[in-house]
Amino acid sequence: MTNLLRHHLFWPVAALVALLVANTVASPGFLAITVRDGHLFGAPIDILRTTAPLLLVALGMTLVIATRGIDLSVGAVVAVSGAVALSHIASSPNPDSPVTVLTAIGLALALCLVLGVWNGFLVSVLGIQPIIATLILMTAGRGVAMLITGGMITTVNSAPFKVLGSGFWLGLPVAAVLAFGVFAVVAFVVRRTALGMLLEATGINPAASRLSGVRSKTLTWTVYAAAGLFAGLAGLLISADTMAADANNAGLFIELDAILAVVIGGTALSGGKFNLSGTLVGALVIATLERTVTVVGISPLVTPLFMALVVIAVTLLQSPRMRERLTAATRRPVATTPPEPQSAARPDSTEVKAR
């Protein structure tokens, strides 16, 4: 029981389960999945589809946060990506040709990669604080997106592009397959090679890891580039869902949602140890929460407040102070002698101070 309570995924998963239970109570058919036209339908599938862009952004964010950084610019990159892709499709003579769509996707992803590399350059080479370095692109990025679309909301009709947003593959939404696929590949690469450990080393102590031969700068550069690329992909999914590039509102606040997903997943913003499975659960929690609000029938006016309260509750439960208390509370009955919890509590408190 103690081990279960202290497992890093306990609280996020508990939150997810609680949300699913609340949904099922409010609408008993919530978890039902039906097959229609060979595709799977149902609320859980829909949640997977809406999680996709957030999951991609949060994935990049986790890696960046692992190196002690943060990327505020992802929302702007989402907007730029959609703007580039849709502008290219709209200006081409043949919007339905797969070549046009592939070029558009290629262009958008390439530009987003460049934007990510730019962030990485500012952080790793110039040594600017990540929050400021990415704030620059966060402010300027939306301006660039508007420059590309000419301040208009570009809309297109292109069947191959639409597949990205609302198509199905093997009965599952293409967006979800893509996002979860990318997630699985990254998780595999990071956890089955030394890459993840090196990232954590960079985050825990950049100077020490550099001295012990870890290429901290290259790693930092890489994670920002990856975050840009994933945000670009998320931008494609979002714009393909609405088939419109809205430079002002596409991906608005997605950086905050993504950071929240990472934090809910148990990765500390102070860098170091990161937790990709936690991020996955965190992204699912946020998507389910948005869904819950409509299913349970909370007025749309109260929605943001409800979300905020859940966020505050989760953050407080995850806070070092609460964890310490909870650990102490669960340990006390188990302990045979009084001095034991004290000595066990000591490493916790020094760890907290070190932050």
Partner: protein, 332 residues
């Protein structure tokens, strides 16, 4: 700068160079501001006129107040993402209560107090629960915005007579105009300056930002100072909301979206380091004026689209941050 220095007496040399380093970013901001005025003045007629400068202050009074509060939090090494939402909350509270017939004398303290309470909650979350400032104020941002929608989803016009007369109060001298909002903002700037430089709390703010462990070991009241910094920022956001309500004579739950970024940008352009410990309130005010002047220039240019504002602010941020970086590298 330093090349001519060796010729002088060593004692006279020491003080100016030390002052130079500390004030250099602020001086830089001031130079940029002056350059913008010169360039604008040479390009457009009536650019450097009392009317334009007065409007610069009148249009940005709320942002000045936000930037002052933000400076306190950033000096302690924290950040406050909630100020835009708290500003909106304050405008909505003001408008809704005035509409319900409450007297302004009750409404105004309540609107500002709402900000204070949220700031206090941030401080408690950051210090006692050890939640990262970024996350704590992010949650506060969602909370304040959510509360706005619950109170009033639609824009409420303010037509209460005494509030309107307070809001439209203008002092005119020559071509210069000063609204009540600007007067309040200037008082806040003065108060912020005095508190930071002439009180024990102000010195502790710098000490905490310079090194929390050292401040703790020196026996400084770190907990109280950190919590108070967030209270100051929350109160400033509440007051900023009041100023915005006076300026727009309405309360709307969607005001101030992304305004926290403007405030942070102003503070950074004003030469305050986000790591804490270095920076000045007056620098932040200059930062706000630079942002406002960009907007003015783009309006004067006429042919430029509004999105250039964002791009220019981004580029300016980049330049300032890069220069600061170079300066701090040279120091070590």
């Amino acid at each position: 700068m330093t090349t001519s220095a060796p010729a002088r007496a060593p004692r006279a040399l020491k003080i100016p160079t030390r002052l130079d380093r500390r004030y250099l970013p602020v001086v830089g901001t001031f130079v940029v501001l002056a350059l913008m005025l010169v360039v604008g003045g040479s390009r457009y007629e009536n650019f450097v006129s009392p009317a334009v400068i007065s409007n610069l202050f009148i249009n940005n009074a709320h942002l000045i107040v936000l930037a002052v509060g933000m400076t306190f939090v950033i000096l302690t090494g924290g950040i406050d993402l909630s100020v835009g939402s708290v500003l909106a909350l304050s405008t909505v509270v003001t408008a809704a209560l005035l509409q319900a017939g409450w007297p302004p004398a009750v409404v105004i303290p309540l609107a500002v107090g709402a900000g204070t309470v949220i700031g206090l909650a941030h401080g408690v979350m950051v210090h006692y629960f050890q939640v990262q400032p970024f996350v704590a104020t992010l949650a506060g941002m969602f909370f304040a915005r959510g509360l706005c929608f619950v109170i009033a989803p639609e824009s409420i016009a303010i037509d209460e007579a005494s509030f309107v007369s307070l809001a439209t109060w203008v002092q005119i001298f020559g071509g210069w105009r000063m609204s009540s909002g600007v007067l309040i903002a200037l008082i806040v700037v003065g108060a912020g300056f005095l508190v930071l430089h002439f009180t024990r709390f102000g010195r502790t703010v710098y000490a905490v930002g310079g090194g929390e462990q050292s401040a703790l070991l020196m026996g400084l009241p770190v907990a109280r100072t950190k919590v108070l910094a967030y209270v100051v920022s929350g109160t400033c956001a509440g007051l900023g909301g009041l100023l915005f309500a006076m300026y727009s004579q309405s309360g709307y739950s969607l005001t101030g979206v992304a305004m926290e970024l403007d405030a942070i940008a102003a503070v950074v352009i004003g030469g305050t380091l986000l790591t804490g410990g270095t920076g000045f309130v007056l620098g932040s005010v200059l930062g706000v004026l630079v942002l406002g002047l960009i907007q003015t220039i783009i309006t004067f240019e006429g042919t430029l689209s509004s999105w250039w504002t964002k791009i220019v602010i981004g580029v300016l941020l980049l330049i300032f941050v890069a220069v600061q970086r170079v300066l701090s590298l040279r120091k070590t």
